[in-house]
Symmetry: C2
Subunit: 271 residues, 2 copies
């Protein structure tokens, strides 16, 4: 492994095994607590496999069903190609560990251009990075006895103070969390990083005072543009929490203020 490979690139490496199948080593360092690997991390690994088998370089649409939480360690990626044209290619990717399939992903690949948008939702007015709080520190404040999850260490996330009160027993009461985000090791964002960012914030239930895991059931990520270098700004918002279910709706802007990704997931709500 080259010395200069970023932590994210190393952890999402997909290679061709003897016999032609794709394999990876799921890295235990990208967990959300309790050894559970982050859903965005798993989706980024699947996206890398989809791109490897596609004529197009970018995963622009990914829809994943999370069947069960896979273990860290060796995993396989079965890619069934669908129709592939000049603009778009489709594939179905199944990520499996020794116990069987864990995540199935419908992947649409294409080539993201550098055209200026005809329409683009502007970034909200947000505090500067310097005026924001580290998510790792806030998690430690909220749960001093719980180790800080690997994901929260590998990403540098700085919470908008208006959405950070949950850490000090003053939840905002609105299921919205906003933060600046980048890799802790300085790697710049790219379309694959946006797939990770699109599921990387703490569950918005935290902002209602419910500090607990919210396992993802279905997640769609759309990557809309090549992100500029530097920090991204990420907003997650729940529209409805009912009957043990919640959604998380993400929008991501790059350092130039361009909307570069969107995601929506259906998750089990923490009780």
């Amino acid at each position: 492994m080259p010395q200069d490979l970023s932590a994210f690139d190393a952890a999402t490496t997909v290679r061709r095994a003897e016999g032609g199948g794709l394999v990876t080593e799921l890295d235990p360092g990208w967990d959300v607590g309790g050894g559970i690997l982050n859903g965005g991390y798993l989706l980024a690994v699947a996206a890398r496999a989809a791109v490897l088998e596609s004529p197009h370089p970018h995963a622009v649409g990914l829809s994943a069903s999370y069947l069960r939480a896979p273990a860290a360690g060796a995993a396989t990626l079965a890619v069934v190609p669908g129709p592939a044209g000049r603009t778009v290619a489709h594939a179905l990717v199944t990520l499996a560990d020794a116990e069987g399939p864990a995540v199935t992903v419908q992947a649409t690949t294409a080539t993201l251009g550098t055209d200026a948008p005809e329409w683009s939702e502007p970034m909200p007015v947000v505090p500067s990075v310097e005026d924001c709080f580290s998510v790792a520190e806030q998690r430690h404040l909220a749960q001093p006895d719980v180790p800080i999850p690997g994901l929260t260490q590998r990403l540098d996330m700085r919470l908008d103070p208006s959405t950070a009160g949950w850490a000090v027993g003053k939840p905002s009461g609105e299921p919205v969390i906003r933060a600046w985000m980048r890799f802790a090791d300085g790697r710049d964002p790219d379309p694959l990083a946006l797939v990770l960012f699109a599921d990387a914030l703490p569950p918005t239930g935290f902002a209602l005072g419910r500090i607990g895991w919210a396992p993802t059931v279905q997640l769609q990520v759309l990557v809309r543009a090549l992100p500029a270098p530097g920090w991204c700004f990420v907003e997650a918002r729940a529209s409805e929490i009912a009957g043990g279910w919640g959604d998380e709706d993400y929008r991501i802007w790059d350092s130039a203020g361009r909307l570069v990704a969107q995601s929506r997931q259906l998750a089990r709500a923490p009780r």
Copy 2:
């Protein structure tokens, strides 16, 4: 076919053929123009197949890749069941016509309850149905020489006037379309109807003055609650249009003002 079957229930009927496979007859009457069947209609047929093979009665999460436009007429639905538990079951559904696979769908089924929501985004302040304009009439105004699509006849859709200017050469300039919606034959909404409604408005490009078809590439629909009888209010909004791509983000409220469904799609933008 029973006399009292609604047009939608008839058009989405899925039955078991000799040999055990599921089959349907895609109804040419649910097109968006030019004989192209509506993506939400196709997704509702796939959802019906998923529910038939599931221990749970409602499709709560559906993610579809649109590979090619299928022809009206005989089609098959192959359902590959995934893990099924007490709360959630997963399946992969492939809708195919004589030419091969047309739509692949990851389906999550569960049981929607009647719990009041802990959090729910309220319906925006909107004009009454009486103060809104028929989408069928607006389409006729915008394109007098083009027959009104079947979908637009089978649904009764009444446009919020602030998003209806495209029909009279005065597009609002903001890619948002809002309308009250119900079946023209009076059938009340249910979770399956919401799957149709979640892709039934004209493309939001219309509101930018671009009257053209915007083929769906990937669509995710989340059904969040059992809708109350009567009209639903549906809002579609594009967040970014760039490089020949656009998104459509839907929120649907029922007649009681409860958020009952959300969808997001990646589509090709009309030129």
